[in-house]
Symmetry: C2
Subunit: 151 residues, 2 copies
């Protein structure tokens, strides 16, 4: 993550463009805290219970995983000048995120659909894959973003 | 939310079944804290900046909204005996979630597809809509869940 990351507008984007974020290490204590607040299920809270579960070990809440991907996109992974404004999308978690995992997000611009009624904006489809330190995907987000031209 | 909520297994589910969660009030301070950690964009952090943005006022991160929906599902909205284990799904945010909003989640079972290889489990598609105090949808999640039969 650089201090002076170039800020992109719609004119700067093209299909096939790729971006890579910095990294984020997820801590065990934060896994449990996030789960206690938002996803209080045994396999996100307790190592012993998690060992006996389908996850076979403590796993981060999928929503914690999703939130970390957003942090990486916002801070270094996709430098949109007007911010990352998502309308919706598709998500999947191909495998668990584990405490201690070192995560980063690779993104690719998949489609750009200009607005018919508002010539200064478009819907940009971006596929972002968050990978762990073994280059295994833990989260895939295909998002529709609202992106603006230079003012 | 009742103390003794019935815990459901695959045999207890059927297409068209509906569930309603308890409520959760989202606080302004928590909106800013969540955004500072996971989605540090001006329209989630600062009222003045948010007024000047497309959101026209402070809005919760979409991932904070998603996390609150999960909390409501886990604690009262969809009482699965083996827990809510999501493989993925589709998400959308039809309008912003605002500080002070009182939220609840209505869910409906949309589809049940038994596993071919594992007779004790199925993929259950559930559409969950989180509504604010004016019955306006702020978040829609169509999730594919892994659900098990009674042991």
């Amino acid at each position: 993550m650089t201090e002076k990351m170039e800020q992109l507008y719609l004119e700067d984007l093209s299909v096939g463009q790729r971006f890579t974020s910095g990294t984020y290490v997820i801590e065990a204590a934060r896994v449990r805290e996030f789960a206690a607040e938002f996803d209080p299920q045994p396999f996100h809270l307790d190592e012993t219970a998690a060992q006996a579960s389908i996850f076979k070990g403590l796993a981060a809440s999928g929503w914690h995983t999703a939130a970390i991907a957003m942090r990486l996109l916002v801070t270094s992974g996709f430098p949109l000048a007007n911010g990352i404004i998502g309308l919706g999308g598709e998500i999947s978690w191909p495998r668990p995120t584990r405490p201690g995992d070192s995560l980063h997000v690779d993104s690719e611009v998949i489609d750009i659909t200009p607005s018919r009624s508002k010539p200064n904006q478009a819907i940009v489809s971006v596929r972002s894959t968050m990978l762990n330190q073994n280059s295994e995907p833990v989260y895939v987000l295909s998002a529709k973003l609202l992106v603006f031209k230079r003012p």
